[in-house]
Symmetry: C2
Subunit: 143 residues, 2 copies
Amino acid sequence: MTNSIALLLMSHGTFAHSAMKSAELIIGKQENYETVGIDVVDDVDALEQEMMEKVESLDQSNGLIILTDIIGGTPTNLASRLLQNSTTILVSGLNLPLVLDVCMNRQMNLDSVVGSLEAAYAQGFTIRTVTDVMGGEEDEYSL
Amino acid sequence: MTNSIALLLMSHGTFAHSAMKSAELIIGKQENYETVGIDVVDDVDALEQEMMEKVESLDQSNGLIILTDIIGGTPTNLASRLLQNSTTILVSGLNLPLVLDVCMNRQMNLDSVVGSLEAAYAQGFTIRTVTDVMGGEEDEYSL
């Protein structure tokens, strides 16, 4: 028993894997997660089997959150096949604000984590121009 | 002359590089871009020099868009030093919907592309549960 929500990250290429590794640079090593990367040449049946084996290796007793790169592609379509019960949630738009929010709240219950994701995603987007930095201040160097 | 907006992607670890490679799996090889990955142990002065050299290698005659992983970290703080003029824009929250939107519109003028990013980002986020897939339909297999 890990006492944390299981995570599955799926994407084209190595994007999902790199996202988790980058998150771990900031918040430390994570457990109870798997990643699946999909290339153009991959066989969908073999990929589904890989996905299933990885999901079954996770402790899903606290639920499963699947993060995928983008709606409409093979990773999200394949991942949707895992939506078989109310404790599995699929979220697309995978970026570092989402991954960090999920990872830092994995000990909470599934509904609370899912409820925080939309705000974490919205707050994760900013546009800056030269006029925003004319004051010269920087954000904190938190890494 | 490339006739496309220059792109710089910056992140912790290999996340930014992987994002671009995953985008290229979907829309084909891109040009006039560079990526910078930052590890905990890196020397900030050396990183700034790497960033500067990569930026100078780009054709910025149509502007420069910098995509970074998350506000408040070294990649975004370093990238902010590049905001020296009105044709350089920094966007944080790097994900595949953002990268694809930028890449598919790089021939447009800078203001038009920047204007499309917020909507692309917002539309890139979805949450799905078992009730969303009970009809059994899948999205198109566009890859």
